[in-house]
């Protein structure tokens, strides 16, 4: 009789242990993973920032770089790929729609436009503070006709860090560079997420940046 009762208690304890371990395992494995529940489009983010002291209607013309700066682990190179070309064409399209006129570099454009593909394959991360501080290494001010000037970023754009691919587009104030003795970055747009550096999505990605920057018009 005693053995029978012991077995009964053991059985109950076993049941309890099964319940205590099975319930948490079942339910914790049923948690919804936020990243796995996103579509490719939903995974992307678009961040824009600008110099609030600037009136963008004061600019009329722009010129865009003829290549994309690929910034990989802090080192840059300039190349032109299908994706890069598609981004440059898309920026032209939406700058035109915003009322700005494309001119050559030699025609004293009011705005310069740089397109950057940022990659980081090292274990660390590139913070945007580092990105801006090395900007003259990616885009020699000589390219825009101001070899002795430095770049200046008038706003704190440092919330996000890049661990993988991203595309950024920067608008440079060339109109007032001589007066200011520096090239101000008056607008920047950043695209992050899965598969953003791709010719097939370039137009929609650039459109998203311009759509959320209604102040960007002549």
């Amino acid at each position: 009789m005693k053995n029978k009762e012991k077995r009964k208690v053991m059985k109950r304890i076993l049941l309890m242990l099964i319940g205590l371990t099975a319930f948490p395992i079942i339910f914790t494995s049923c948690t919804k993973d936020p990243v796995n529940n996103l579509t490719t489009d939903e995974s992307r983010i678009y961040i824009t920032d600008h110099d609030s002291s600037v009136n963008f209607t004061n600019y009329k013309t722009y010129s865009i770089s003829d290549s994309v700066a690929t910034i990989e682990d802090g080192k840059s190179s300039h190349d032109i790929t299908d994706a890069g070309s598609a981004y440059i064409e898309a920026v032209k399209k939406y700058m035109d729609q915003a009322g700005y006129q494309l001119v050559s570099r030699e025609d004293n454009p009011d705005l310069g436009v740089d397109v950057n593909h940022i990659i980081n394959t090292s274990t660390g991360v590139i913070s945007y503070g580092d990105y801006w501080s090395d900007y003259d290494g990616y885009w020699d001010p000589y390219y825009w006709g101001y070899p002795d000037y430095g770049y200046y970023i008038p706003y704190a754009y440092s919330v996000y860090q890049v661990k993988e691919g991203a595309v950024s587009i920067d608008l440079l104030d060339l109109k007032n560079a001589s007066a200011d003795h520096k090239i101000n970055v008056v607008w920047t747009g950043l695209i992050r997420g899965s598969g953003v550096y791709n010719a097939t999505v370039a137009d929609s990605q650039v459109k998203a940046l311009f759509d959320q920057s209604a102040y960007l018009k002549h």
Binding site: I13, G19, F27, K32, D49, Y155, Q212
Partner: protein
Amino acid sequence: MKNIKIFIAGLSLMICFALPANAQNTQLKLDLNYNYSFPLSGFKNDLISNGSPRGFMGDLMYSFNNKLSGGLSFGFQDYYQKYPRTLYNLSKTQQISAVLTNSVQATPLLLKAKYFPQSNSFLKPYVSVGAGANIIDFKQYYGEFGSSKTNVGFRAEAGVGVKIPFTKTSTSGINIGATYDYAPYKKNGYHDLNSVNVQAGVVLQLK
């Protein structure tokens, strides 16, 4: 905060003093319940308005006598909500367009007491109170880029329910209940993770 400490101390003392006094009637029971949670107030308005069907609650309870039992309550609940793409202001000049996802996992560990006013009837209605810790894992994602914070907060609950024995003589049975859970969460401008929970499950007598 002082009231919270007094509440927990009172509950602990009640359980400790009741334990030896009724040692001859000892009964150890395990309640295992499926739990559906409805966020309330600040939780609902600021973070997640969707109900969560992903959770469980378990009670390991010691019966001091026919009317009173006390013990440990533990559980897990996963809350999740994805909001459509929206433009958010990060600063006066900085905007982000993103699909925002909030994900909260709550793991309460409470001291709990249950009172059965009609212990001799077949159906055994009860009221319960509990208080203790709430381990909160809060993740917020803009697109696929997220941040995560884990905190331990306070949690208190009050509940009602009924136990339905399998047979007239059975001490095991089915449990159906509901609780209101108060869970302050003063982080990042948020206020609370209060919720109403409904549970259904089994009661197993262990000893």
